[in-house]
């Protein structure tokens, strides 16, 4: 690709206003889309995955035009994409960069690891309290068992 074309390409994928979610683990890109309710999003939405990354090997990136997330909304993705970084863009300029933070509660994102939990046997919105953000331990509101990083699964 010629340098000029490359620049054009980058320009197309840049957004004027909105949020860039970078450093998403490739396997989590579609979960992030689901968690943020972007499947029905009406504005420009750019999704790329399996991009080479020095830090992560492979990564995904999502650019959401004209959307500025509230922190409790965006922090939900920390459970599937703890490495994600956020770049807030206004008039093509980077206004703010920040990391996602693990939230205090998780509603309908995580699946309880306990097969005998009622939430795995009936149609119920799962609810968890995050009791350890660093080690990622979540207590199920229903069966009271702890789902931890090594057995976490998503709905």
């Amino acid at each position: 690709m010629e340098k000029e074309d490359l620049r054009k390409e980058l320009k197309v994928s840049a957004i004027e206003n909105g949020t860039v979610i970078d450093h998403i683990p490739s396997k989590s890109v579609f979960q992030v889309i689901k968690i943020l309710n972007l499947t029905e999003y009406q504005n420009q939405l750019l999704i790329a995955t399996n991009l080479d990354s020095q830090k992560m090997g492979k990564k995904g990136i999502i650019k959401v035009s004209n959307k500025f997330f509230k922190s409790d909304e965006i922090n939900k993705i920390a459970l599937v994409a703890p490495t994600a970084t956020l770049i807030i863009i206004k008039n093509f300029e980077v206004i703010e960069k920040k990391k996602v933070e693990v939230p205090d509660y998780a509603e309908n994102i995580v699946k309880c690891f306990n097969p005998n939990c009622i939430t795995n046997n009936e149609e119920i919105v799962t609810k968890f309290t995050v009791i350890d953000k660093k080690e990622l331990k979540l207590r199920c509101h229903y069966c009271e068992k702890i789902t931890a990083r090594n057995n976490i699964a998503f709905r």
């Binding site: 306990n114 005998n116 939990c117 009622i118 149609e123 509101h141 229903y142 009271e144």
Partner: protein, 303 residues
């Protein structure tokens, strides 16, 4: 406590626990009071548990309430694929309070959120069985005069026994010194031990039942199930080490009482039954008074 569901022992505060135990004491003195004549109690047993169901139904009936319900979900609409949500919503229309037992953990919490009447958890899988905990507390308080500053031994399966975990939690409010006696395979989970440490309470762990007996005020026995061992030989090795015989009680403290959540299999030999220290059948009877206290206070007919 009016209209408050009891799903987990922690749903009630320490003060509320004590209030229930005091009320239970009043029902023990005067068990036949027809104060619930205008009320309907539904007992929904999605899995059979005759002992618990009879205790609740006895409690409700002695207070004059009508009891409706089912004892086994195979004969009900649940078998036809009805969701728990729909069953609870429907039954809520027919009663003033629901007592339920269900094989899935968290089912009772869910039911309490769906129901338009209060729910008492009579066991949800391996999770909670708060009325058992309250009747255990009642039995300890009654036999020792107080719940404070006691030495309490738990013996047998401390890993899977939910009654043990729940009672240990509750006793952490009373400066208890704990003695845990179990085979290594069935030791108390570290999460429960963490709770004890956080309260700065003392616990001892041992594999020797005999050496613990003389130190304690309460000996809480549980059954060791063969299925808990991956190697049947391991079970054979330990199965006789956690059986209580009458002769082992010779050096026990005079105030010692032996508790067991029942049913017993062989972990307490029958020669113990006539020893005044044996308390497990009275403990079961206490369950009726505690359940009377819960029904009456949740339905709001006593304060």
């Amino acid at each position: 406590m009016k209209n408050k569901s009891l799903v987990s022992i922690n749903d009630f505060s320490r003060e509320e626990h004590i209030r229930i135990l005091e009320l239970a004491g009043a029902f023990e003195k005067n068990p036949k009071q027809r104060i619930l004549e205008d009320y309907v109690v539904a007992t929904l047993f999605f899995e059979p548990s005759t002992r618990t169901r009879l205790s609740f139904e006895s409690a409700a009936t002695r207070l004059g309430a009508k009891v409706i319900g089912f004892t086994d979900s195979s004969s009900s609409s649940v078998q036809k694929g009805e969701s728990l949500r729909d069953t609870i919503l429907t039954v809520s229309n027919y009663c003033d309070i629901i007592v339920m037992r269900h094989p899935k953990e968290g089912s009772s919490r869910f039911a309490s959120e769906v129901a338009t009447v209060p729910v008492i958890n009579a066991g949800d899988g391996a999770n909670q069985h708060p009325t058992q905990t309250l009747l255990d507390m009642y039995s300890i308080r009654k036999t020792q005069g107080s719940l404070d500053n006691l030495n309490i031994a738990f013996v047998g399966d401390l890993k899977y026994g939910r009654t043990v975990h729940s009672l240990v939690h509750a006793l952490c409010n009373y400066n208890t010194t704990f003695h845990f006696v179990s085979p290594l395979e069935l030791k108390l989970p570290s999460a429960v031990k963490m709770d004890i440490k956080e309260r700065n309470l003392v616990y001892h762990q041992s594999t020797d039942l005999l050496e613990v007996i003389e130190k304690v005020d309460i000996l809480y026995m549980t059954r060791i199930q063969k299925e808990r061992f991956s190697d049947p030989l391991d079970y054979e090795k330990v199965k006789n080490a956690y059986v209580l015989h009458n002769s082992m009680l010779d050096f026990a403290k005079p105030n010692l009482k032996i508790l067991h959540p029942l049913p017993r299999v062989n972990e307490i030999t029958t020669d113990v039954d006539n020893n005044p220290k044996a308390y497990y059948f009275t403990q079961a009877l206490n369950g009726v008074y505690v359940r009377q206290a819960l029904l009456a206070s949740i339905l709001g007919v006593v304060d």
